[in-house]
Amino acid sequence: MLSVLLITTAAFFFTGIIVRVKSMASGRKGPGILQPVYDVVRLFRKGVVYSETTSFIFQIAPTIYFASVIMAMLVVPFGQSSGVLGFNGDFIFFAYILALGKFFSIIAAMDTGSSFEGMGASREALYSMFAEPAFFILMGSLALLSGHTSFQEIFAALHIGSQISYALAALATFVILMIAMIESSRMPIDDPKTHLELTMIHEVMILDNSGFDLGLILSAGFLKFTIYGALIVNLFIGVIPYQYAIPAFFAIQFLLAITIGLIESFMARFRMSHNPQFIVVLTSVSLLIFFGVLLILQKFM
């Protein structure tokens, strides 16, 4: 339960901090930290406009997308406290419930019949597909290392091991951070700020969504980031007591937001055709973790 509370709280500030960092880096004052939340609240109070060419899929997709993110959030643990729904194999559930939400947002985008949205959907599908092996090799290696298959047990066991598991955790942080960037459509994969439909990935898929539906999609986006952030936090806090773990949680989330803000300020987006290469590199980093685990377990002949 604690994790749900913390993730939700962090989600309120996360996007606002990114925007603020970007504003400050370009010499502007920037909007208040809570502005993205106000925007979503405003959207929640609005009605929805549906295109005449869309079917019921377009109408249910935002809800399913939001629900999938909430479900994923429920399995994420926090230190010693397990997630609301923690069970054996919950990391597989985590990945595929998010994939389910994504699947619906993809077919909803296709449903509109817009050529832009079709393009965005195909890009999103491709990049998620490339990112999947990275996540599973990573979590599988950690499961192998710890001998458990639920998030909570994996993370708890990680800290009883040797010093080398912290080195693995650093690599794992990189992989999860990058997956978070891909899944949340941030730079350098996607540019959330652009107005150019032809270069968008996630943004173009939600061009036809409005009002309440758009609010759901945006808030799911806020949550997604902090959920991945929470996974990173879990790699480090292990079994330390709550009075240190909770500040550490917020500190790490804050740091993540600043990192993302700085990346988005000082580099250009990748060329679309370089994205798959970049994402596949994540898989090789995951493989590195896998071999590290094999070394620790002395499974090499």
């Binding site: 880096a25 370009s26 079709g118 988005e264 250009a268 987006r269 679309m272």
Partner: protein
Amino acid sequence: MHYLTIKNNQSVPVSEIPEVSYNAFLILNTGMVAENSERHCVNYFGYKLGDKIKLICCIADDAEHLIYVSSCLVEVGSEHASFTAKLLCFEKFEREIHENFGIQFTDHPWLKPVRYAHDRFDKNQNISNYPFYSIDSEELHEVGVGPIHAGVIEPGHFRFICNGEQILHLEIQLGYQHRGIEKLFIEKKKLNQLTTLAESIAGDTTVGHTVAFAHIWESLCGIKSTYDTAFSRTVALELERIAIHTGDLSAVCTDIAYQLGSSVFGRLRTPIVNFMQEWCGNRLSKGLIRPGKNKFPFTKSLANRLSELLDAFEADFTEMNNELFSLPSALSRFERTGVVSHEDASSIGAVGMAARACGVSRDIRTSHPYGLYPELNHEPIIKHHGDVYSRVQIRKSEVIQSIKYLRKLIGNIPEISEPVANQAIGKDLFSISLVEGWRGEICHCAISNSEGGIKHYKIKDPSFHNWLALALAVRNNEISDFPICNKSFNLSYCGHDL
């Protein structure tokens, strides 16, 4: 001689332009361009003369600094062989003549509408039934963008035929911005109205187009513009170049999502346009250029302000450029993106900085100098790769070059002369004016009538040719690179649509 040789900004009686048969006209003009790569067609247009159409073709010789003008009289709706079959650079001129007067160019590859002029020959041709190139394929897909632009700038419709992410073909349909500017030039009688009209041909090239109009007017009136007027115009042209190039660098950075470049270049543009405000009361230099007079003389105190401003500007500009051109993620977006080959650029008659980025040396400031450019000994900046990188680089280098020119110019401010009394324009004259705006060659042609009014006014913005260069540039590129290719050209919709 089947043609008349004139210089830039020269007026001649229309009757002196030799009139030849269409076949001789075709052989003469295509021959002149084909035999010498230093020659290109700056304008080719028709106008109604009684119930016939008079075609006038102006070929500029860049090496000799001359313009060869010839003419031909044809029937409305008649059939003729096309120039385009021999030389591609006439393609759009002939489409325009076809659209306006229904002249059939039999071997023209594709006589598509250009801009849907209000008094076009075939009123059944309208913007909703444009003959798009289409494909019948299961694998390829079409992506239509616009006419409403995502950034709500100007309207234009782009239709891509793509193989997945790869663009195979781009077709650009324009005409949404057609305001009938050329017709208004005939209808409006007051000089102030006409000048204001010239200022609104393309909002980002106010100085360029107004200078071209002022040159035409002065030439038709037989006034020689004073040294201080030429000085002000040259300074204004170079300032406009700096402002727009810097703004475009900012926009290119926005398109690759490089926030630092976007905001720094955006900030750097502001002092330049604010200086224009200080000088003439308008950030876009409206009201600055007036035919026959130097309305806002360039004073010592303005020179001091500009000199301070340029010092601050240049330091930051250079620093930001060093930053941008050493950023791997930015370079990977620029290099080998949107390549226009040298052959393509010269065959379609590309002009201005877009042509110079492909190694085509085409710069009116050297080839047909006007204003104070002869004194500046302008050397065009040429890049050779024709990609986005070259076009971004050329902007950077031209800004630096313009700063150098401005420093040189404001070191020696001329005395303010008495304004010349307004005169009526000469009767039955033809005049041509070429100006190198920031985007490239601007060509205005005017023909006066026997009452001392304008009978025909023809404007050619550099975008007229360069839109085709953009369509060629994006071929085989990723569709997601289209915005950055587009921005690296930054062509005008209203300059094309008139």
